[in-house]
């Protein structure tokens, strides 16, 4: 199970980093100013835009951080006591 967990974690990391790279690439490809931007044309547009980007990122990653911390905590508390079970289970 430990190996499976590691593989799953690796898969997750790979997928996430791939997504992040793709996303960054997509953003980086079009750096110029844009039209149809509802958050770009307010009183203090630059700051406002950054605030929206930052809060989006913050809100998006915070739950994953929380859940990651919880999982680590649970794992730390359980890993010593997982025992092998009767052999009938494949």
């Amino acid at each position: 199970m430990r190996r499976w967990l590691r593989n799953a974690a690796l898969d997750a990391v790979r997928t996430a980093s791939g997504l992040a790279a793709l996303a960054l690439g997509v953003v980086g490809a079009f750096p110029e100013t844009v039209s149809a931007c509802s958050v770009c044309f307010s009183a203090k547009n630059e700051e406002n835009q950054i605030a929206y980007l930052a809060s989006t990122g913050f809100l998006t990653f915070l739950p994953l951080l929380l859940v990651g911390a919880l999982l680590l905590w649970v794992r730390k508390r359980t890993q010593d006591t997982e025992q092998p079970r009767s052999p009938d289970h494949s």
Partner: protein
């Protein structure tokens, strides 16, 4: 242990007597601790919502932040208050460590934590009164609205946590406080204490 199953209908009678070792179910942590932790996670997201809304509103404000005709927030006094709250958290952590070894010696640090927490809430109230007198109200500006909303929401949590802590202090005096309950309340108090510096930093500056 009695005979395990009584058959009803086509099911087999399965006797597992004698084969089952003293069955045990494992707990990851006391129920109260897990429940509180999960609740705290939801609460953190609630405050995350407030903080990000505040950060965005700050940049859309029409006439600067805080608005020119509004009083500035008492940053220095609140720094003192912040220190009091952090100390309270530390005192409770110390009380818990002592408690695990000797229940009776935990009473004093527990009481200190409780009193420091009460001081924090009372001091907040005094600050609010002076701010209200200076003209910062919920409807006077978005700045005021966010201040009372976020800080007030935190204060509500602090009051709720203090009530729980006070009840537990009574149990502690009677030597009836269970470690699970203590740990659960501690998790919640740490949340109240740990949330505050973040709010202080985001709201007051």
């Amino acid at each position: 242990m009695q005979l395990s199953y009584v058959s009803d209908g086509p099911d087999k009678v399965v006797d597992i007597r004698g084969r089952m070792p003293a069955a045990r179910r494992r707990q990851v942590a006391p129920n109260g601790v897990i429940g509180t932790l999960l609740f705290v996670m939801a609460e953190v997201m609630l405050f995350a919502g407030f903080i990000s809304a505040h950060a965005v509103a700050k940049t859309t404000a029409l006439s600067g932040w805080p608005p020119p005709n509004q009083p500035r927030l008492p940053v220095e006094e609140t720094a003192v208050n912040t220190a009091a709250l952090l100390l309270s958290g530390a005192a409770l952590a110390y009380a818990y460590r002592v408690y695990l070894r000797d229940v009776r010696r935990a009473r004093v640090p527990f009481l200190i934590a409780l009193l420091l927490g009460c001081f924090f809430v009372a001091f907040q109230g005094v600050e609010w009164l002076s701010l209200l007198r200076e003209g910062l109200t919920v409807t006077s500006s978005t700045h005021g609205a966010f201040f009372y909303l976020i800080v007030g929401c935190h204060a509500l949590h602090a009051v709720a946590a203090l009530i729980v802590l006070a009840l537990q202090y009574r149990q502690l005096l009677l030597d009836r406080l269970s470690p699970g309950a203590f740990a659960g309340a501690q998790v919640f108090w740490f949340f109240v204490v740990g949330m505050w510096p973040v709010l202080y930093w985001k709201v007051y500056f």
